[in-house]
């Protein structure tokens, strides 16, 4: 061996673990002892799984009662390709599904919109018509399959209900989450078109912040909150197995903030919605049990597991003490976890399989109800079939081979874990209280506070990478030359984009051949219903779907109904005047 190589191996041998804090920057000691947990009262702070405050899990026997849902996020370039991928994953043991839309659909424009060119079917599936929803779900029974919808079209829920009618499935048997979006403002992050549209309010973000046009935002929010409340009431009454509102902390974490912020900011958003709903006279016990969350699982295994334990306790305590909830189902924090996309690296992509497995382990140790494992090609594109299969297999190894599902909360009682759970709880509550003092999450976002905190976090992270204060394998240490690295074939290399062009042409043809009179009438009825604050907007949306109205049209007239422009991008005019 060369001298240089000898020196390297010697310094490697005596290398020390240098970090003295968690991924999020919480200071930790080298060792924890009984002293660290002597003041924590078991019955009050920890308690058995299934017992308040649910630190150890919401169910008594956890995964012996039911394994977590193996639920991979799926959104391929067309509805038909998405359906094929869903069937493929189900046939390989996926136990629940999660469908994500492409960017045009997320901001509620159709695939034939002039600005959609180049973005259709690139990062999810397009949904323009009821038929698209039906194509995606073709051959999948709605009462047998738990479906989660991430970042969706306004026509998804009505199309889904109409499909239930067609399949002969009673609404009470529908198992679906994420179908209605609470109109409280979340941190300005990538979903729903990012900071350019204030979280599906359809108001350009730049207008809200820079031109002080916040009166309009509040007015729209109040109208949307009424619609949300009406839909929630319909679902509470008719859809017993539906968890319609999903609050997404995952997307907040992806920008680089800490574990406590991820949970606390999205809790603050949920609490703001609860305040509005309870003021309308709705029962917190009924509202809260219909809510679920999506969280991230980053790479720091113990910090992440602790985050989920602390989150359950913070949720239960706030629901009980602040909102007076009494029904255990309202005190249970139910969540889905995506292993972090942001920890997946483009360099040496195959090792991402290991990172995702660690994230998945943390989620399961933390007692998640549902899990998506990111494909190893996450930093490149949406997963290829091969990457999605490996991700699903990662879940299956965890579930069937490792033994981690056998015992509820296996980390409970650990000096370190219990001590850090206390600190995490404290920090989350501090952040929730801070947001409350600002007047709630909407105001905290509008004031620019949230954006500044996010920016600080990602700049600090990048600075640490540049200075190698934080090591990411293959990125700033243990690197290899680009030309020696794996040249991954991405999903968009495999897809025949002629299929996407064909999809867009078929949409145009569909628009040409449907009954213009029926479409116009349905849209005008919906618009009038939205303007009047009609409690049955959902029924009018179903009529629109039946008449052949599209995502862009339904989203558009709903914007008109609350006093916003038809097209969120300000390019297309309402076509039926």
């Amino acid at each position: 061996m060369s001298t240089q190589m000898n020196r390297k191996v010697a310094s490697g041998y005596f290398e020390k673990a240098e970090r003295q804090e968690t991924w999020s920057g919480m200071p930790v000691k080298a060792v924890y002892t009984p002293d660290d947990i002597k003041d924590i009262k078991y019955s009050e702070r920890i308690a058995d799984p299934g017992q308040y405050p649910y630190t150890r899990g919401i169910y008594e026997n956890m995964y012996r009662g039911r394994l977590w849902s193996r639920r991979q996020i799926t959104g391929c370039s067309t509805p038909k390709l998405t359906n094929e991928r869903l069937k493929y994953l189900i046939s390989h043991g996926e136990s629940a599904i999660n469908v994500i839309c492409d960017q045009p659909t997320q901001i509620q424009i159709d695939s034939d919109h002039p600005w959609a060119e180049g973005s259709v079917g690139r990062a999810g599936t397009p949904i323009c018509t009821m038929q698209d929803v039906w194509t995606i779900m073709d051959g999948i029974r709605l009462d047998e399959t738990s479906t989660m919808l991430t970042a969706h079209s306004p026509i998804t829920l009505p199309s889904y209900l109409l499909l239930a009618d067609k399949q002969g499935v009673p609404y009470s048997e529908l198992r679906v989450s994420g179908v209605i979006t609470p109109p409280t403002v979340s941190a300005p992050v990538c979903l729903y078109g990012g900071r350019e549209s204030a979280d599906q309010q359809g108001i350009p973000w730049s207008t809200v912040v820079t031109q002080g046009n916040n009166e309009q935002l509040y007015a729209v929010q109040q109208k949307r909150m009424k619609e949300f409340a009406d839909k929630l009431e319909f679902i509470i009454k008719n859809c017993d197995k539906m968890y319609p509102a999903n609050f997404n902390g995952y997307i907040i974490r992806e920008v680089g903030v800490g574990a406590a912020e991820e949970v606390a900011w999205e809790f603050a958003r949920a609490f703001e919605a609860f305040d509005m709903l309870t003021k309308r006279g709705m029962d917190i016990n009924l509202i809260a049990q219909k809510v679920s969350f999506t969280f991230s699982a980053m790479i720091d295994i113990f910090e992440e597991a602790v985050k989920f334990r602390a989150a359950r306790r913070v949720w239960a305590r706030n629901l009980k003490e602040r909102f007076g909830a009494t029904d255990p189902r309202a005190l249970w924090l139910k969540f889905h976890v995506n292993t972090a996309g942001v920890m997946m690296e483009r360099q040496q992509p195959i090792i991402n399989i290991v990172r995702a497995a660690y994230g998945a382990l943390a989620a399961v140790l933390g007692g998640t109800q549902s899990l998506q494992v990111a494909g190893y090609d996450e930093a490149i594109a949406i997963p290829t079939e091969e990457a999605a299969t490996i991700a699903l297999r990662t879940q299956q190894i965890l579930a069937y081979e490792t033994g981690v599902a056998t015992v509820a909360d296996p980390l409970g009682g650990s000096y370190y874990v219990e001590s850090l759970t206390e600190k995490m709880d404290e920090k989350m509550q501090e952040i929730i209280d801070t947001i409350d003092r600002m007047g709630g999450m909407t105001k905290a976002v509008i004031s620019g506070y949230i954006d500044r905190e996010m920016e600080k976090a990602w700049l600090r992270y990048q600075q640490e990478l540049e200075e190698k204060k934080r090591i990411v394998v293959g990125v700033n240490e243990f690197t290899i030359p680009e030309e020696e690295d794996v040249d991954v074939e991405a999903y968009h290399h495999q897809v025949d984009f002629d299929l996407v062009h064909k999809y867009i042409e078929e949409l145009k043809e569909f628009k040409r051949t449907r009954s213009r009179t029926k479409v116009k009438k349905a849209l005008e009825n919906l618009r009038a219903a939205v303007e009047a604050g009609d409690p049955e907007i959902l029924r009018f949306e179903m009529e629109c779907c039946k008449a052949g109205c599209t995502t862009g049209e339904v989203g558009g007239v709903k914007r008109l109904g609350v006093g916003l422009p038809y097209d969120p991008l300000g390019v297309v005019e309402y076509p039926f005047d």
Binding site: Q103, P104, Q106, I107, W115, A116, E117, G118, S119, R122, A123, V189, C190, L191, Y192, G193, G194, R195, E196, S206, E254, V255, G256, E345, R346, Q347, A379, I380, A381, I382, E455, W458, L459, Q462, L465, E466, V475, N476, E482, D485, D487, V488, E489, A490, Y491, H492, H493, L569
Partner: protein, 135 residues
């Protein structure tokens, strides 16, 4: 010698909302003493090209995370040609697979900085090459 600060136009064309990367590079380029005009997300190629003329920039920087870089950079290249901006440096960053780097370069992209590239490397490249072709 031109004492004028290097002027950089940054923005995301298309509908993708992931802006952590481009805002990060905006900060680093500013810290290095360059003038950064940040257009935000939801831009079109035409708007970017118009801004490049109006703001008299030396560098146009785009960032992609939605696997839409090839069709969107093609639109940008067409705008650059039609507005005679070939003397400006065109730089792309984001989630770009290795095999797409050559494709982008053939469309006229001068350099591609995929996610994970150190900020210092991007800054050094821009500082050295910004004015090379500038008329």
């Amino acid at each position: 010698m031109d004492k004028r600060k290097i002027r950089v136009l940054l923005g995301k064309i298309g509908l993708d909302g992931h802006d952590r990367g481009i805002r990060m590079i905006a900060t680093w380029l500013s810290k290095a003493g360059m003038e950064v005009v940040y257009m935000g997300t939801h831009q079109t190629a035409e708007r970017m090209a118009r801004a490049a003329v109006d703001e008299d920039v030396d560098v146009i920087g785009l960032s992609f995370q939605g696997a839409d870089h090839i069709p969107l950079v093609r639109m940008m290249s067409a705008q650059i040609k039609s507005k005679h901006l070939e003397d400006r440096l065109l730089v792309v960053g984001g989630n770009i697979p290795r095999r797409d780097v050559e494709v982008l370069k053939q469309m006229g992209v001068d350099a591609v900085f995929p996610s994970g590239t150190p900020m210092s490397k991007c800054v050094a490249y821009v500082a050295e090459n910004a004015l090379k072709r500038r008329k």
